[in-house]
Structures are given as structure tokens and as C-alpha cells.
């Protein structure tokens, strides 16, 4: 009778709370992260609601047209799984947490997944404002989703913070036969807007970890950089670490 779903992060609200933002700093949805600097830097480690300790937390948002694979990308990153034909369309807005270790620092990413259909943007764009990073996805097998990237970037500029980290991802890169958007086209668009770019595949796992790691590294460097430490070069890092389809460089 009841169709039970795995209750992710069960017991979350029963776990001991060590909210990093107990001294809440005003505007917006600044729960896991303070608003302006984007830094949550508690004097002692905090516990995320999955019970994991972390040092700093950031809010990352997945955006892009309906069906480009936002939820799949998130599930691949979070659980390392891709179950073809098991995903349902995302309605509204939802998030999942993942703690990663970046240069010995525990970084919690609070990753927000949004409905891609245009009309939902008027419900979800209020949440861009507090995002520290936006992963903007298109589907390499869907020209329309690529063409809409410009509109998405306009929307992002209008609603997101000035210094938000934006990364462009061409997803479903494993679909060689159905591909209609060339890699070079993605690179060109990214260059035009000055954002880092890579192709990903939630199905094969290609560059999924890297996309989130790169963003986490950038955000961590921004907030914890020593005065004499050089600025983190996100694009360089991505270019060095990125794998391309059919290539076995690791």
C-alpha cells in the first residue's frame, strides 16, 4: 500500500546540532553559510545533518534546462550511482549534502537541485542569491539546452551574487551517437563568458567528482587563503585534471 522511499539522511534532525550559523547573519537563506563572504568558519568543527564533521560549508546550485541531468549528476556525485531509468522529474527544489576533504580541510557542499522547466525559475531564482557556486548544465545531445545557456547566464547575472563561481558543464558526454553539440562549441561559449568548462557524464562518472572538487577548491581557497599564497587557478586546475571522452589520461 505505501510506497516507501529510502529516507535519505535518516535521523538527521535527531543528531546533535552544531549549527555553524548559530550567530545568524541576516539576509536570505544563510543557513549553512554566512551571506557575504560565503564563509562558515566555526572555531571548532561542526556537524552536518548527516552527522559528519566539517570545517567550512558552501551552497552550490545545479541549474539548466529540464532533462539535462542535474539530478543524475548530483546522485552520481553523492552516492556514486547511476541507475538508468530510475529518475523522476524534479519538481520544486531540494538539496543534499556532501562533505569532501580538500587539502586536509573538511568542506561541506550543500547542493541544491532545481526543477529545470522555465516556469519554475520564478519560484527558484530567489535561491540563487545565496549560492556560492552554480553548476550550469546543458545536454550534449540536446541543441536547445545548449542554446538556452545564454539565457541562463543572463538570469544568473541578474539574481546571483557578483562573485559567484559559475562552471559550465556539457553533460551526457558518453552518448557518442546522439551527440549534437561538439566539445569545441561548449569551450567557445565558456570562453566567451569567461567561465570554466568541461564535459561530464553522470552515467559513466566522467569528470563528475572533478566538477565538484574544482568548485570546492576554489571556494575553499577564496576563504582560507594565506596572504602569500597564490590565487587558485580554477581553469588551470580543471584543464590539468579533466578527462575527455574516450581518453584514458587520469
Amino acid at each position: 500500500m505505501s510506497r516507501k522511499k529510502a529516507l535519505k539522511g535518516k535521523g538527521g534532525s535527531k543528531s546533535p546540532k552544531a549549527s555553524p550559523s548559530s550567530g545568524r547573519t541576516g539576509k536570505g537563506l544563510a543557513a549553512a553559510a554566512a551571506p557575504s563572504s560565503g564563509l562558515v568558519y566555526p572555531s571548532r568543527p561542526s556537524i552536518s545533518n548527516s552527522g559528519e564533521f566539517y570545517d567550512i560549508a558552501f551552497k552550490v546550485m545545479l541549474v539548466g534546462d529540464s532533462g539535462v541531468g542535474k539530478t543524475c549528476l548530483l546522485v552520481r556525485f553523492k552516492d556514486g550511482a547511476f541507475l538508468a531509468g530510475s529518475f523522476i522529474s524534479t519538481v520544486g527544489i531540494d538539496f543534499r549534502n556532501k562533505v569532501m576533504t580538500i587539502d586536509a580541510v573538511k568542506v561541506k557542499l550543500q547542493i541544491w537541485d532545481t526543477a529545470g522547466q522555465e516556469r519554475f525559475r520564478s519560484v527558484t531564482h530567489a535561491y540563487y542569491r545565496d549560492a556560492h557556486a552554480l553548476l550550469l548544465l546543458y545536454d550534449v545531445t540536446n541543441k536547445g539546452s545548449y542554446d538556452n545557456i545564454r539565457a541562463w547566464l543572463t538570469e544568473i547575472h541578474e539574481y546571483a551574487q557578483q562573485d559567484v563561481v559559475v562552471m559550465l558543464l556539457g553533460n551526457k558526454a558518453d552518448s557518442t551517437h546522439d551527440r549534437v553539440v561538439k566539445r569545441e562549441e561548449g569551450e567557445k561559449l565558456a570562453k566567451e563568458f569567461g567561465v570554466p568548462f568541461m564535459e561530464t557524464s553522470a552515467k559513466s562518472g566522467l569528470n563528475v567528482e572533478l566538477a565538484f572538487t574544482a568548485v570546492a577548491k576554489e571556494l575553499k581557497h577564496r576563504t582560507m587563503k594565506e596572504p602569500d599564497e597564490p590565487k587558485f587557478q580554477l581553469q588551470e586546475y580543471v584543464d590539468k585534471e579533466m578527462r575527455t571522452v574516450g581518453c584514458c589520461r587520469s
Binding site: M1, S2, R3, K4, K5, A6, L7, G9, K10, G12, S13, K14, K17, S19, P20, S21, S22, R24, G28, L29, A30, A31, A32, S48, N49, S66, G67, G85, S86, F87, I88, S89, T90, V91, G92, I93, F95, N97, Q110, A115, Q117, E118, R119, F120, S122, V123, A126, G144
Partner: protein
Amino acid sequence: MEKKSQSLSPRDGRAKERVDRVDPYGFERSEDFDYDSYEELMSEYLAVLTRRAIKWSKLMKGKSKVQKNLKLKRYVRKGIPNEHRALIWMAASGAQDQLEKNPGYYRSLLGAQHDPKLVETICTDLNRTFPDNIQFRKTSSPCLQKALHNVLLAYGHHNPSVGYCQGMNFIAGYLLIITKDEEKSFWLMDALLGRILPDYYSPAMLGLKTDQEVLGELVKVKIPAVWQAMVEHNVTWTLVASRWFICLYIDVLPVETVLRIWDCLFYEGSKILFRVALTLIHHNQALIRQARSLPDVCQAFKQITHGPFVDECHTFMQKIFTEPGSLSRATLTKQRATCRSRIIAEES
């Protein structure tokens, strides 16, 4: 779930051998499905279903039409047996009248030229509608996926100002599972979107934004501690309740509970959606108040849609009419008007 002393089934840990892997609606049970609790629950619920089925068959005997009256309303609140569900939904919502007044209309919509953009948008969601339901598999016969495509396409052309909005796929899917008929599903969609619900699905989604705010206002009065917690942690009602309204509790609450809610939705209107929301929140206010951050609050709001309280649909449906206290149509109308103007003012 608590063990009930008067349970009819033996709790011997072998329920998994006795219970089907697929529920009566075609949904595959999840890996972590609790067969023992389910069997225990069903052993009690079956008695209710049998009792109701006898009453309904007496009521329906020799009738092909039904009149809305207090007795029927009471019957509907106690649950419509599956065999009568489609008929009562059709009659109570006015969908049957529309179907009879417009013979051939549904077919003509399907036969007309299609907007390619609409087709594409709908197709994106076909494989993402109930992949865990065997009736929606491409290999199943009849395949509800094709029927889903048709109903959504016809509705999109019938009501071009709405077209297709995500969430409608799940609603049409449920209607097809229950009615097993495209045309009836189409007219029930028309009843829901055109008359029963506010404008949840139109491009501006004003009805949705309004009802989220209305829920906030009702919680503020009825369950102030929860309202306080929401304010304290900066949680908007969009974050916790948009899916509740858009999907009419599909994939939020258990299937049987959703159908029981829909029985009342078709008969009594959209007020029922607030009764459900208020009951969930009221019953779990202690849990929500324990939350110490925005993610905690969101997590709590997910947690309250699972567990015995919502699984036991018969008791749950009794609770929704008592637990939240009075909720008059006038209050709702007034709140909707106030919230709506506020949103329009803020957006302009």
C-alpha cells in the same frame, strides 16, 4: 510501527514471502520496504475496506449516476472503494458532465496539429514519470506511457495558457492508473486544473505561490511555534511545501493515502490540501521545532511525510478533519485574496 495486540497476521518475519513485490497499482516496492509492518497494517485495513465495500455496493446498487449529498460526502471521506473510484471522481468533479457534453472532443484534440515545442517538453518527462511502476514500462501492455503522452498532449492543446507544467505528468499518471481510460483522465485533469485547483501550473505559478503563503498564514495562527521556527531559520514555504501542492501529495505521501486525499479533493475541493498540510505539521510540531538550521527544518519536513502516521491512511484521514481545527471556506478565500495581492505587489 508499533505492534498491535489484535493483529490478524502472524508477525513471523515471513511477510516478504506472502506479500507481492508490486503493489495493486503497479508500483514496485522499494528495497527497504517493511513487509512485516505492511502486512500488519493491511490486516486491519482490509477489514475497513471490506466494511466500506459492502456499504458502497448497497449505496450504488442499480445506480449509474450519483447525487452529491451529505451521506455521499461522509462516505467519500471514509474512502471510495477502488471499483467505484473513477465513477465517483467523474461525477463529483463534474468531469462526467463535460465528457458527455463534448463527445469526440478528446479525440479531436489528439487528431489536430501538434505544437512541436509542447511535444518535446512532454516527451522529456515521459521516461521520468513512475519508472518504478510496471504499467509505465515500454514493454507493458497496455503501456500507460503512451496514454500519458496523449492525455498531456491533449490537455496542453485544450488549455494553451497552461500547456504543460512538470507535476502534471504525475497527476495524469495517477488518473490513468485509477480510471484506466485516457478520455476520463483528460476530463479529470480539466476538472482539477480548470475548476478545483487555483492556477498552480500556469507560467506565473501565482496560485502556487499564493497557496504556499496561505499555508504560512494558517500555520502562523494555528501552530505559531512552527511558524516561529520557520522565521528563525529563514525557511520559506516554497522549500518545504511546493511539491505538496504541485504534485497533490504524489510521491510525497504513500499511494493509498494520496488516493484517499484525492477522494476528498474531487468531492470537496482544494481546501483538503491545506487540511493535509496542517495535520502533518501540527502532528509533528515537536520534531520541527527541534530543528536547529535550515537544512534541519527541510529534513524534518521530509521526515514527517513518512512513517506509520501517514501509512495508516484511514486514521490519517480522520485526523485531517479534527487535528487542524476549523478551516472555513471564507477564511481560505480571504487569505488567498490577501496573499495574492501581496505577491502581485511584490513582483511588480
